[in-house]
Symmetry: C2
Subunit: 242 residues, 2 copies
Amino acid sequence: MIQALLFDVFGTVVDWRSGISKDFELISKKYGLKKNSKQFADDWRAEYQPSMEKVRSGKREFVKLDILHDENLKNISNNYGLDILSNEDWDWLVKSWHRLPGWKDSSKGLLRLKSKFIVASQSNGNIELILNMSKNSKLYWDMILGSEVVGYYKPQPEAYLVACEKVGLNPNECMMVAAHNSDLSSARRVGLKTAFVLRSHEHGVNQKSDLKPSESWDYVANDFFDLADKLGCEKEVTLNGI
Amino acid sequence: MIQALLFDVFGTVVDWRSGISKDFELISKKYGLKKNSKQFADDWRAEYQPSMEKVRSGKREFVKLDILHDENLKNISNNYGLDILSNEDWDWLVKSWHRLPGWKDSSKGLLRLKSKFIVASQSNGNIELILNMSKNSKLYWDMILGSEVVGYYKPQPEAYLVACEKVGLNPNECMMVAAHNSDLSSARRVGLKTAFVLRSHEHGVNQKSDLKPSESWDYVANDFFDLADKLGCEKEVTLNGI
């Protein structure tokens, strides 16, 4: 019945907090900044939902996430002394999201899932961002969908429904895979199947949210290997006879 | 300098004439039809450019290729006695384009090229079509671009330029790979690099067109292996350490 898996990316497939902190530390070293890098990542990420909300509510035309990341960094740049960055370093930092590392099971887990299902990213990230990240972190999708292809930001219902339409499947033939209960809830509301994957360190060791499923999702897994096992995928990944 | 390879698909990566003929033969057997299957493939394909031209010229809103394939099949269906097909068989035949086989070097050749470059399809096929074909025929793209993502049909200049923009690169950082001189000519006109790959049997053993480069393309190759060699890619494909 399920033919395609649609993945949330930030937090579910990649560890944005570690990636952003690491790049901020490199910039801090270069410019002698002394701020907490984890707090920086959290503060930048905190601008994420409000910035998309302007697009979702129709107050603003659709713009891609790279542009919102740039604007959001400007919003917090005073607090972190980033106004002294060269244009080149600023752009490099904005593109930190293009270089986020996968969780340790992400590359191989996606390949295992890919042997049985269509695997597609369905993120709020734009094509270039997800493409570069995927090349860097060896995430081998069948298709990069997401906000720029479907024209909507999650959790708008169209973000899920247009994604299903693009791959030519009914919503109940697609399963949203996410570490966030709210994302799954929105996907279920429009008819998709749902899989919760626990990412207990997305927000660091003291994480309080999304430590367990808030509804009876179709699948609940500890990581992508566990999900692949539960979905009956091959244990080993191969080049599929090529 | 070159960071992404954008591929024409029908004829360059997959052998549409053999695939369509084969499926028509299965239908012919079931319904006792007696027509030439290669001629059928050629006739259906002959409707392709005129049907897109209505969209390119602005006479018609953008529609995806699956819809044009359905309409084009209706145009020739009388000549081939296809009016007796059940709805299910008709739809199966329309989707023959979703099941086209790759040339013998396509799967492995793309993987070799992928180890060094972003490889993306830039076809007039819609997402679902290219996605299903790629799953069937083991074509592992980094990204499926194409008409439905960029909103234009080749050879409109925007078809090439928007594709480059989506992957965040300048036109001269992208190379169009095609077996058709006309496609490369249009890509070059807007600044892309060009690679001609010889597919001398796309139109059968008596093919007259595209048997040699019509301009001094940046690369000329006999197949994807030859192109991978000329671009300095690894000889063997691996799972890249996963």
